[in-house]
């Protein structure tokens, strides 16, 4: 069997939990660079990430630093409403608010500390929480709930392969405690419904290689990247967190400008849920001028914009993302989310 035929089989899988939990929520990362650039963060090393998305970039690290960052998104009030409903404390207003939703809701937050130096980096995230809920079917509301708390430890190491090539490998261990269920509202109130909310655990171990080719002699300094993510082993299979690898193929150029640094990247994020031809593709850019970096990206059905600012050893930023969906009552609407991030270097 040819490699071309084999690839779709290797990368085929499904993140199905009744309602579609976005892959970038369950298996993705919670930081500004990932939200602003999506898959394009594998083609560039922009933004103040704990560690680069693509481990091949660790070989280009020139200095060393220790960094702590905090990241969170909106939708906290929705989280409270769902908790009240499921604990039986909700009133009619809570029910009205929840059942009038026409689309799923998401929330995520992350705390991470990292140390990076040339050719090596380590990051520990003691607390990443993700939350997804979808309530549909007004006749008998069906609820899909994914609530997870993760701890992860990442090591990155990399080196050069000749003058223009770099490689990197990320070794990542993740421990997840989660509730991932789809149930009806009647299931949630009968005797013995507590078992619906029993937390499960999953330990995962991933080996995620990356490759970088640079053409440094050219004025635009083009570069080509390849990275595989989520390639590994889980001790307990669960459709909410499948062992479903993804392949990132992309490139970037540094557009020559008189003032500042402008980077433009394109990435294809191929995985089991990839749909139409345009769905895996993403175009992203970032422009850095002084202490401020503006970034943004475009995908087939979403876009994101944001900025990050530095002040001495502190940094912070806001990201705004919009996703175009067809909701449950058949109307098209933009789902808008705001994320903020702040941190400091030691």
């Amino acid at each position: 069997m040819s490699l071309v035929r084999l690839l779709p089989l290797v990368f085929w899988g499904s993140v199905a939990l009744g309602a579609q939990v976005p892959r970038e929520l369950s298996l993705g990362r919670s930081d500004s660079a990932s939200k602003l650039l999506g898959g394009v963060c594998f083609t560039t090393d922009t933004g103040r990430q704990a560690l680069p998305c693509n481990p091949a970039f660790i070989s280009r690290e020139t200095g060393s630093d220790f960094r702590v960052q905090f990241f969170a998104g909106n939708n906290i009030s929705y989280l409270r409403d769902v908790s009240e409903l499921l604990s039986g404390e909700g009133d009619e207003a809570t029910v009205e608010r929840l059942f009038s939703q026409t689309r799923p809701s998401e929330m995520e937050a992350n705390v991470e500390g990292a140390y990076r130096q040339p050719l090596f980096g380590i990051a520990f995230a003691p607390y990443r929480i993700i939350y997804f809920s979808a309530i549909r079917n007004r006749a008998l509301p069906v609820i899909t709930l994914l609530a997870a708390r993760e701890q992860s430890l990442r090591f990155q190491l990399g080196s050069y392969l000749g003058e223009d090539w770099s490689w990197g490998l990320q070794v990542r261990g993740v421990r997840r405690e989660f509730i991932a269920r789809t149930f009806t509202i009647a299931d949630a109130v009968v005797e013995g419904s507590d078992s619906l909310f029993a937390a499960q655990t999953q330990n995962a171990f991933y080996l995620e290689p990356g490759l970088l080719k640079e053409w440094t002699d050219s004025a635009w300094k083009p570069q080509f990247t390849l990275a595989v993510t989520d390639l590994g082993y889980v001790d307990r299979k669960d459709e909410a967190f499948p062992a479903s690898p993804a392949l990132n193929v992309g490139g970037a150029v540094h557009v020559p400008v008189g003032l500042g640094i402008w980077e433009l990247g394109l990435n294809a994020h191929l995985h089991s849920d990839s749909g139409a031809w345009s769905e895996p593709l993403r175009l992203g850019t970032s422009y850095e001028l002084g202490v401020t970096r503006f970034s943004g990206s475009l995908g087939a059905s979403d876009h994101a914009l944001g900025f990050q600012m530095n002040y001495k050893d502190f940094f912070g930023g806001l990201s705004y993302s919009s996703r175009w969906i067809e909701n449950w009552v058949g109307a098209n609407e933009w789902v808008r989310t705001v994320f903020f991030e702040f941190g400091f270097d030691l």
């Binding site: 309602a19 509202i185 009647a186 009968v190 175009w324 067809e326």
Partner: protein, 277 residues
């Protein structure tokens, strides 16, 4: 450079795609999710047809529930509107309670007691008391809606489907739909009783000639009413059983009520089967 040209072409393709954004499909192609979407859009006939086909292929509990909910939606029954009734259930009344009859009705029964030659006096009084006791249920079911005869047919379909459901949530849903049907039937019966009461009062006040010399039950269509009461009690019994399946610790306390209802219904049916046929 070649790589920059390739990059530019691909970049333009993404830009073009982004200029005409493709809305994200929340169902992910899952036929069950698509059926939920149809229910939420009010396309009940289509949802029922799709779910019936899906159920034939995969008779799973979740599809059974979805199909039952599509029937319920077509009958106008949306559980989200009756959340209080779902979470606010106490145990159903365990005993038929003394009625709160009108003074005129009580007067009529006093007259009946003075007429020992009339057959069926006891049964008629018992029927009136049972009907009045349903007012206790009416209070309980106040939050639930009623539905017309077409809706009642859809609810019967839903109840039939959920009969095989072995999950507690599915049984609770069946209990709720059963109670909606029960309430609809009780409301129908109340209207019937008002007509009976009107006719009886007219007969006993001498305004209408009646066949009271032989059998008081002939004044009214007692047999039809007895059939109706049996159906109502069967519905009540099923709802109680479903409720007991959803809350097993309350099951024991419900058994007495079910047995008593059964005895009364059987008695009605026995008497009704002989009265004025």
């Amino acid at each position: 450079m070649k790589i920059i040209k390739i990059f530019s072409v691909l970049g333009m393709a993404v830009l073009l795609a982004a200029c005409q954004p493709r809305e994200q499909d929340l169902t992910g192609g899952d036929p069950l999710e698509k059926a939920y979407q149809k229910i939420d859009r009010g396309q009940y006939d289509q949802a029922i047809s799709d779910l019936e086909a899906l159920y034939l292929k995969t008779p799973k509990n979740e599809i059974r529930e979805a199909l039952a909910s599509a029937y319920a939606a077509r009958a106008g029954i949306f559980v989200e509107r009756y959340w209080g009734a779902v979470v606010g259930f106490g145990a159903p009344p365990g005993k038929v309670r003394p009625s709160k009859m009108s003074e005129a009705t009580l007067q009529m029964f006093r007259q009946l007691e003075q007429r020992p030659e009339l057959k069926g006096r006891k049964e008629l009084r018992q029927l009136a008391e049972v009907l009045s006791s349903f007012s206790v249920w009416m209070d309980r079911l106040e939050l639930l809606p009623t539905t017309d005869s077409a809706g009642q047919e859809d609810l019967r379909e839903a109840l039939f489907l959920l009969q095989e459901h072995d999950g507690r949530g599915g049984r609770l849903y069946r209990a709720i739909l059963g109670l909606v049907l029960l309430k609809s039937q009780i409301v129908d019966g109340y209207e019937g009783w008002e007509k009976i009461e009107e006719r009886l009062l007219a007969v006993f006040s001498g305004n209408l000639p009646g066949n009271t010399k032989q059998d008081v039950l002939c004044v009214v269509d007692f047999a039809a009413f007895a059939d109706w009461s049996l159906d109502v009690v069967v519905r009540l019994r099923e709802a109680v059983q479903d409720y007991g399946a959803a809350f097993p610790s309350k099951k024991k306390s419900l058994v007495t009520a079910v047995e008593q209802s059964n005895q009364i219904a059987a008695e009605f049916h026995r008497v009704g089967g002989q009265a004025c046929r």
